[in-house]
Symmetry: C2
Subunit: 419 residues, 2 copies
């Protein structure tokens, strides 16, 4: 089986100033092409260390896909490190230079001498076009047919270069005979140990398809990975295992693959021809953002009132001023009135409301930071409210409250007696 | 200088199913403690490969900080790999077992045999408490004073374990004599080459403090990193360089360090005692979410109407039905009316509105996917509208429209003639 390693370059990654999302994207594309990735590395902007990382990876794999360090500044050392590791010099690639000139003309920016150097690539390499930026990529070649494919670190430049140029090169190169298909079963409310207890026998006995469990905040994903000559055969291997896993985990399964709690809730509500509105206080628009991420959400989602100031709760949601005065904005009754107000005034069949204290300020002994009230109103006896207390900083509390709101909505839409 | 490497374990990281955010968090904490990280690795759930990664890192560094692979399932192989790499066996740690039993009792979950094994740690290691989860961590020791600190992969368990237990261990260990202080200057609207042209001389001549440029979507960060015996001395080294950089980049500088376009805009509006409202259509609550991420935003941000359905634009924002009919919901005039409606009906001094086509459906030749209208209304002659066309998929368009909206707001608040 061919194997490739990924090397990401950038001191900012080693100082914790930037999360490396490129490696995950590259790994996902390589997996889909049936190419194994056993290890990845990340190194700083230091020519000797980059060259050492290249040598280490080439000692274990057939080639490397690299990202970062191709820009015009002195900190961009990937090309020089590749030359050092492979023992080749550079040469000027006229077509790469012409393409760069065209890009600069298009962007209306002056092209400087430091940009010109970006067209000097390792001798014998194959240039990679970069229509979205100024740094051309390249695939350099070492002895024994090994290769180093280098792409910029800017995701919007790297991603199309990978998909359109590097992956086709790799498929040709390896005449890739296998593909990996992954099915993700999304669960909620089941602990990792509980999942292991229910499906541990399958988990331990299955090699291909293989099963993996991945724990998230408040939820866990069970992944089935099948390796086969083509996608149809992989799907056929997945199907019976998927049925058995879903049977055992059913009470917690909310969706598959790209499904999110938001898309699962919207799909159920759409099938019931329900129209949904929101009244968000402490979640500040995050629930609406999650719902509107789903293509076609406009069929079900009417809108939201982000009622951050109390005056907006009164004027737009028609919360009773006496209640607001007596119970405070962060209270179960205000949450209920917000939900009712959103449903009636935004013209929806069902509405969800949140009000709480995200912190860091505003907490009291009676109403501490992290306290959040949720209410759901559909004009029937199913209308109800919940109280939660979340740990964490402002961002964590807002995120947990948003996930919880989406879960309550999904369980309501599924018809749970006690969402 | 002491140096430590980071190793993240998990096949899901190598299949692109999960972005590794742990490495960046660990790297950031180590940098603050003055500990160098020259390389990081990521390996799959394979005992031999994990052991090989440990040996590789120990050949270059004084120790390793690892995350992942400590759970109760057969896929959790970090402990066994550490034992193999260091040549030690396991032993049962009674206190770790007792702590786990207490956690299970607290969570109300049955403790199973596979959990019990998690209390078997490499012989001679120091256990690390995990009050937020069931997997204890540990610091194992090899020959020549080298160490391997292992933590769970779940971020909410790993982060406190790192900050409260591992970093203090490292500080003791290395009697850390240096600290690194970083200052980030956030710019917008200046290309990477333009920044290099303006500050390249400083960039190339400075070693300590060192300068790095990091390009994002529509913006770039200039980072100054100073290494000194303590933070005060590092700050004193940063100050003159920061002044010079800001002088040269001034037209694009919107903030420092943790500042975001949202916090920068809110701070300016707050200083002017302005109250802000939003009317969001295609951005679906994302601008409100960005604003409410900022602690204290409730002083300035009144609320938002996420007017996803046209009926909400009419009923809540009082958009003129004739205009909506004639120009369509995605039009400059509707954007202007939405902004005016949000300002007057939500009770704000200034309001920003968005309406556009996020796709993937709904585009036409005249109004293609990615077309977004923005309007700002403060009841004066400064009220105006903008038209943008963004490339990308639904998520990218929504994200770019949100960033653009925040920029327009910041430039308006700064008093730019032509934001």
């Amino acid at each position: 089986m061919p194997s490739v390693e990924i090397v990401a370059v950038g001191t900012e990654l080693l100082l914790g100033q930037l999360v490396d999302t490129n490696t995950a994207f590259i790994a996902g594309e390589l997996a889909r092409a049936g190419i194994n990735v056993h290890s990845t590395q990340c190194v700083g902007d230091n020519r000797e260390r980059i060259a050492a990382a290249i040598r280490t990876s080439l000692s274990r794999a057939d080639g490397i896909v690299m990202t970062g360090g191709l820009g015009p500044t002195v900190d961009d050392l990937t090309r020089d490190a590749v030359c050092a590791a492979l023992g080749v010099g550079t040469e000027l690639y006229e077509p790469a230079l012409r393409a760069m000139e065209a890009i600069f003309a298009k962007f209306g920016r002056p092209m400087r001498e430091n940009n010109r150097k970006q067209a000097e690539l390792p001798a014998g390499s194959r240039p990679l076009d970069n229509p979205r930026g100024t740094a051309p990529g390249f695939i350099a070649f070492g002895s024994e047919e090994q290769f180093v494919a280098c792409m910029p670190g800017v995701p919007r430049e790297m991603k199309p270069m990978l998909v359109e140029q590097v992956v086709p090169f790799l498929r040709d190169r390896f005449a890739a005979h296998e593909t990996i298909v992954t099915r993700v079963i999304h669960t909620i409310g089941l602990g990792e140990s509980e999942i292991d207890y229910r499906i541990g026998d399958l988990f331990r006995s299955c090699e291909n398809p293989k099963i993996a469990v991945l724990a998230h905040e408040f939820r866990a994903d069970v992944k089935i990975m099948a390796k086969a000559p083509d996608a149809a055969q992989a799907e056929a291997m997945i199907a019976p295992l998927q049925n058995e896993l879903v049977r055992r985990l059913e009470d917690g399964v909310f969706g598959y693959d790209a499904d999110t709690p938001a898309s699962a809730a919207l799909a159920l509500l759409a099938s019931q021809h329900q129209r949904l509105a929101l009244a968000e206080s402490c979640t500040g628009g995050r629930i609406a953002a999650a719902l509107t991420s789903v293509p076609g959400s406009s069929k079900t989602f009417v809108g939201a009132l982000v009622a951050y100031d109390d005056s907006v709760k009164l004027s737009q949601l028609h919360v009773d001023p006496t209640t607001l005065q007596r119970d405070g904005a962060v209270s179960e009754e205000v949450a209920r009135q917000m939900a009712r107000g959103a449903r009636t005034h935004l013209g929806a069949g069902v509405a969800l409301a949140t009000t709480g204290i995200a912190g860091p300020d505003g907490g009291t002994p009676e109403k501490p930071v992290g306290l959040v009230f949720f209410a759901l109103d559909d004009g029937t006896q199913r209308s109800r409210a919940w109280t939660f207390r979340f740990d964490g900083d402002r961002e964590t509390i807002q995120r947990r409250a948003t996930t919880t709101a989406l879960n309550l909505l999904w369980r309501y839409a599924r018809g749970d007696q006690e969402p």
